[in-house]
Amino acid sequence: MAVSEQDVRHVAALARLGLADDRVQALVGELNGILAHMDVLQQVEVGGASLDPDAAHRIRMRDDVPNPIALHRAREDFAPNMRDGLFLVPRLSTHGTAESADDEDEG
């Protein structure tokens, strides 16, 4: 299963990574070089081997209730822009300034 330039561009888009054209070319070779070593797994007789990753670790599940996290600083200290208890994140430059869109959803 060889990776093509189109594949690299596709997964880069899925991963939200911008890649220069020369980097795409290099990554085709690098990923094919790595994945060639993975082909050995296709030859393994896995039988009824469990696919459950948790089985190896005896993971217990806690009650599905939110736990408060003890913060050392008030939320307002590290996220100075808050409104109605919600964090506000910086606006995109292409979307104008916060002042010009006071009534819009910022976050």
Binding site: V3, A15, L17, L27, L35, L41, A49, S50, R60, L92
Partner: protein, 486 residues
């Protein structure tokens, strides 16, 4: 006052003396800060410390209540830069998190502080713990303390280097595929990866969540055991921790018996001793096995037949999980933000400029093996083979074997810049990644040198049986004596 001789004494002894008032409470901190100043900075420095907070550490020391029950009173502990601290940045060695200071602290940091430790420095690492040489940091390469042309290993190379250089006796790192044991082996110190679920990951920046564990470096077995003793245990903030009682890992440190390993069975998995293994490394391992026999242990050959598949499995599972975990670094909530064309353009510009080449490569690899059409062939199959690797360990420990003895790494510390092929670098983890995939505890300790460079011997044990692993490690360290470093 700086008394550098303090750094040659065990952390337990120094903590005991500080708690009892026999040493000034800032004695160990002062010695550590002085050593950091002389070892770390400048053109010939190690570049092992990224951030330091002497003022904060002094303030913490001043506020300490001297309590003989605290195991680490006044002891400075260096912390890998992917573990959240509130007084220094947590950047994971990445430009994308430059300047980020966590609003909360990791559980392991809280436990260190509760035991009387102080946190004066954060250490360099491969970006997001992806690497085996600490050459992938956005903040420069860390040098090997014994040979500045070589790497200290990775990804926790900064923590390994500060312990090996005598800056601290204990440091924390993180393990995903060998990132504590491999640099410990390269630098001639002790490195421990606990059982998955033994130590809280709350506040450890996630790389591959089903593999990650916080690990401990120590100058000696006792320093490492002491560090793990403090940070181990169930944590309500990490549901993958397991409520198994934490044993006294240091119980075997002063056993007077001349055959302290009577009844212990040590397995040597034949797959870890391939024909290609450096014969000098084989000889050092044989010497260690001879010591274990002389101490009363039975040493027998065993087989872990799926060992050779560990690297292909690891480099599917870990990048797959990383591609998901690192999706959160998008310019909205943390660190770097690079404007682009609209929201998507901002994401892509931020991530492409914020992540280095190795992280980018692994995100792409992980996204590929999880993508439609390839999920079954790569990820699903890798998870099935991972089960087979874990079953190998279950069977061998069920057969009466208590610990396994293997090389930690296939080579000693290699030259900086000598491994440009990604897969060649990945093979550095060939003897360590199995423990992460299976979730079992493992540790590396020095067993000798080749051409002046340290060699690590690895011990592995059954889930949550760190006690037996330490029992063997203490005995082997004592038996080797100076041989461990010559």
């Amino acid at each position: 006052m700086n008394d550098s001789s303090l750094l040659t004494r065990s952390a337990a002894d120094v903590a005991s003396d500080i708690a009892a008032g026999r040493l000034p409470r800032d004695a160990a901190l002062e010695a550590s800060l002085a050593a950091m100043a002389s070892e770390n900075a400048g053109p010939d420095g190690l570049n092992a410390v990224l951030w330091s907070d002497a003022a904060g550490a002094h303030a913490d020391i001043a506020a300490l209540s001297l309590n003989p029950m605290q195991l680490l009173t006044g002891i400075p502990v260096a912390i890998k830069d992917n573990i959240a601290t509130r007084t220094m940045p947590t950047t994971c060695g990445s430009k994308i998190l430059e300047g980020y200071v966590s609003p909360f602290e990791a559980t392991v940091i809280a436990r260190l502080r509760a035991a009387g430790a102080v946190i004066p420095m954060k250490t360099n690492m491969d970006e997001f713990a992806m690497g085996s040489s600490t050459e992938n940091s956005a903040y420069g390469v860390t040098q090997h303390p014994l040979d500045h042309t070589r790497v200290p290993g990775g990804s926790s190379g900064g923590s390994a280097a500060v312990v090996a250089a005598g800056v601290t006796r204990i440091a924390l790192g993180s393990e995903t595929g060998g990132s504590v044991r491999q640099p410990a082996a390269f630098c001639g110190i002790v490195g421990v990866k606990p059982t998955y679920g033994r130590v809280s990951r709350h506040g450890l920046v996630a790389f591959a969540s089903s593999l990650d564990q916080v690990g401990v470096f120590g100058t000696t077995v006792d320093d490492a055991a002491l560090g793990l003793q403090v940070i181990a245990g169930v944590d309500p903030l990490d549901s993958t921790t397991v409520d198994v009682p934490v044993a006294d890992y240091r119980a075997a440190r002063s056993v007077a018996d001349d055959q302290p390993l009577t009844g212990v069975v040590v397995g040597r998995p034949v797959e870890y001793y391939p024909e290609s293994l450096d014969p000098r490394m084989r000889t050092l391992l044989e010497r260690s096995a001879d010591h274990l026999r002389a101490l009363g242990a039975e040493v027998r050959d065993v087989s872990l037949p799926h060992t050779s598949l560990a690297i292909p499995v690891y480099y599917i599972v870990a990048p797959a999980e990383a591609s998901s975990n690192l999706a959160r670094f998008d310019g909205v909530r943390y660190g770097l933000r690079v404007e682009g064309d609209g929201l998507r353009g901002m994401y892509e510009a931020t991530r492409s400029q914020g992540f280095g080449p190795e992280v980018t490569r692994r995100i792409l690899l992980g996204t590929y093996v999880l993508s439609a059409g390839y999920y079954d062939a790569y990820y699903k199959r890798a998870m099935a083979v991972r089960r087979l690797i874990a079953d190998d360990f279950t069977k061998v420990f069920a057969s009466g074997v208590h610990v396994l003895l293997t090389p930690t790494t296939p080579s000693t510390a290699f030259l900086a810049g000598s491994r440009s092929d990604p897969y060649e670098m990945y093979l550095s983890d060939i003897f360590t990644a199995t423990a992460n995939l299976a979730g079992v505890p493992a540790m590396s300790q020095p067993i000798g040198r080749i051409d002046g460079l340290p060699v690590g011997g690895q011990l592995l044990a059954a889930h949550f049986d760190e006690s037996t692993m330490f029992r063997v490690a203490y005995a082997l360290e004592r038996a080797l004596g100076r041989e461990a470093h010559t």
